[in-house]
């Protein structure tokens, strides 16, 4: 479904992503892990069109999307939960969610909302509140809800557990698990490597801008050298 081929992303001339490649099959769950500044977020941004790739190709459902603009990519069914939340602060929780299904999905607004509230009941309590005044974790729920309400073909999440209470992390991953079982294709960036390895079938470990290892979670667990070098064992 998604094939990232030798992409390069530059910031003011300096390459942050240097020839990263990986494939993601429909219905698969892939985790992208690696240390700070490895280029995980940049890779996701390249896929969703927020960052320009200076070379390489990104194939989605058979065509190269690396030249498209972000909104076009979004409309193809790629949802990106970005790092650092990016909620629409002055709008209500419900308006935030509704914007998520603006151009995608078959659910009616009320069905979509119902689905999200079902999974994240806390949001229903706060549906009328300005999203900007929510707590950090509550905001994280809003952006995840906003992504899944459009029933994307590919769901990309950039550190969805960040700032979430353990219980909510459980909830979120339970939800992601449900989506995974329902055949949702997921590309996950996660600092919590254990969580990621538990959740994903395959992992891609990034070093500084480059792929260090691609393999199943089990394979990765056996590579103590990679874990020591890039992930740590706190």
């Amino acid at each position: 479904m998604l094939s990232v081929r030798q992409i390069e992303v530059r910031y003011e001339g300096i390459a942050a992503v240097r020839g990263i490649s990986f494939d993601l099959a429909a219905g698969e769950c892939l985790a992208l892990i690696g240390p700070n500044g490895a280029g995980k977020s940049s890779t996701l941004r390249a896929i969703s069109g927020l960052a320009r790739v200076s070379s390489g190709a990104i194939m989605f459902s058979g065509s190269d999307i690396s030249g498209l603009r972000a909104h076009q990519i979004a409309r193809l069914g790629i949802a990106h939960v970005p790092e650092g939340r990016h909620i629409f602060g002055p709008m209500t929780v419900e308006d935030n969610l509704l914007l998520g299904r603006q151009r995608m999905g078959d659910l009616s607004p009320s069905q979509g909302l119902e689905m999200v509230y079902d999974i994240l009941p806390k949001l229903q309590e706060r549906r009328g509140q300005q999203a900007g005044s929510l707590s950090g974790g509550e905001q994280q729920m809003v952006v995840i809800g906003r992504a899944i309400i459009g029933q994307p073909k590919l769901l990309m999440l950039d550190e969805p557990s960040m700032g979430l209470a353990p219980q909510i992390v459980d909830t979120v991953f339970e939800l992601l698990g449900k989506l995974r079982s329902a055949g949702q294709t997921i590309l996950l960036v996660e600092q919590n490597a254990e969580l990621a390895m538990d959740f994903a079938q395959r992992c891609v470990v990034l070093g500084v801008g480059e792929v260090q290892l691609t393999g199943t979670s089990a394979e990765l667990r056996s590579r103590q050298d990679i874990i020591d070098a890039y992930l740590g064992t706190f």
Binding site: G49, A70, H71, R75, H86, F88, P90, M91, D95, Q102
Partner: protein
């Protein structure tokens, strides 16, 4: 000072206030999509007035045709401003774009000077006939047009932003451009639409007010400043704020003339504005402040 005169002041304040409000509404439209205050907004108003004066006064076109053509033409200018300047900005803060709109305003103003010269243009009020008299006070018919249209436009914009999907998408663009893109919103198109709409709205304002105020090439900036003040007083980004702010400003100006030499009129209004903002830093109705950084449009 008798009652009729006080009423007269109130009416004149409301008329002027409605003009400010119309300009302020144009500000809000672009602000709501981009966080930018477009200082060329006054120039759109000026162009509207000048084009309509030429079409009606010199070419003797039918009123409706002249008005529609004017609005369309100025809307096109709005699109050009977006295409030629605003959409080219790749980096920088919102302030960068604000400065660019200042440049645009100088350009349009100069072009108008070169084109029609410095003399005022004008055409007759929409409705001919003697002014209305209410309890001894005089109401110009054109003022009713200004106030009436202002109310309709405000109601329309209010519904647009609160109810329509397009309005919500526009707001989303202003709040967080990247996130808006991720929602599948074509931000650049939204920005362009907002420029076209607000230019058209500015043109409409220009057409409405020219029978009262005349149209001159250099009137834009003063109008922009008043519209800006109106939006600030009400609070940026709220549909009702430009109206409340504009009318308040107009009424304060009129009231100040009752008690002070009229040279202080603008200053009194501004002083009230400053005091209001010091007490309520986001305007009477509580508006938004802009983001600090902008990503590429």
């Amino acid at each position: 000072m008798d009652a009729a005169q006080l009423l007269q002041f109130a009416i004149s304040g409301l008329t002027v206030g409605a003009i400010y409000a119309l300009v302020g509404l144009g500000f809000n439209l672009i602000f709501n999509a981009t966080d930018v205050i477009n200082f060329a907004q006054g120039e759109f108003v000026m162009l509207g007035g000048i084009l309509a004066s030429i079409a009606i006064g010199q070419w003797h076109w039918p009123m409706w045709l002249a008005i529609l053509t004017t609005i369309a033409a100025v809307g096109l200018v709005g699109a050009l401003v977006d295409f030629g300047a605003v959409s080219r900005v790749r980096r920088g803060s919102v302030m960068t774009i604000v400065m660019i709109t200042l440049g645009v305003s100088v350009m349009i103003k100069t072009a108008a000077l070169l084109w029609v010269g410095p003399n005022p243009l004008y055409f007759d009020p929409f409705t001919a006939g003697p002014p209305l008299r209410i309890f001894g006070a005089v109401v110009q018919l054109q003022a009713l047009w200004v106030i009436g249209t202002g109310a309709v436009v405000m109601a329309g914009l209010g519904l647009f932003f609160s109810r329509s999907a397009l309005g919500r998408e526009m707001l989303a663009c202003a709040i967080d451009r990247e996130a808006a893109y991720l929602m599948g919103i074509d931000v650049r198109r939204m920005v362009r639409i907002s420029f076209v709409l607000s230019a058209a709205l500015g043109a409409l304002a220009g057409v409405l007010i020219t029978p009262l105020t005349n149209a001159t090439y250099d009137q834009g900036f003063t109008l922009a400043l008043k519209g800006f003040a109106a939006s600030a007083l009400g609070g940026f980004g709220r549909s009702g704020s430009a109206i409340v702010g504009g009318l308040a400003l107009g009424l304060i100006e009129a009231a100040s003339v009752v008690v002070m030499p009229s040279g202080w009129k603008d200053s009194v209004a501004l002083l009230v504005l400053i005091l209001v903002l010091v007490v309520k830093p986001s305007g009477l109705l509580g508006g938004r402040a802009e983001r600090r950084h902008t990503q590429a449009l």
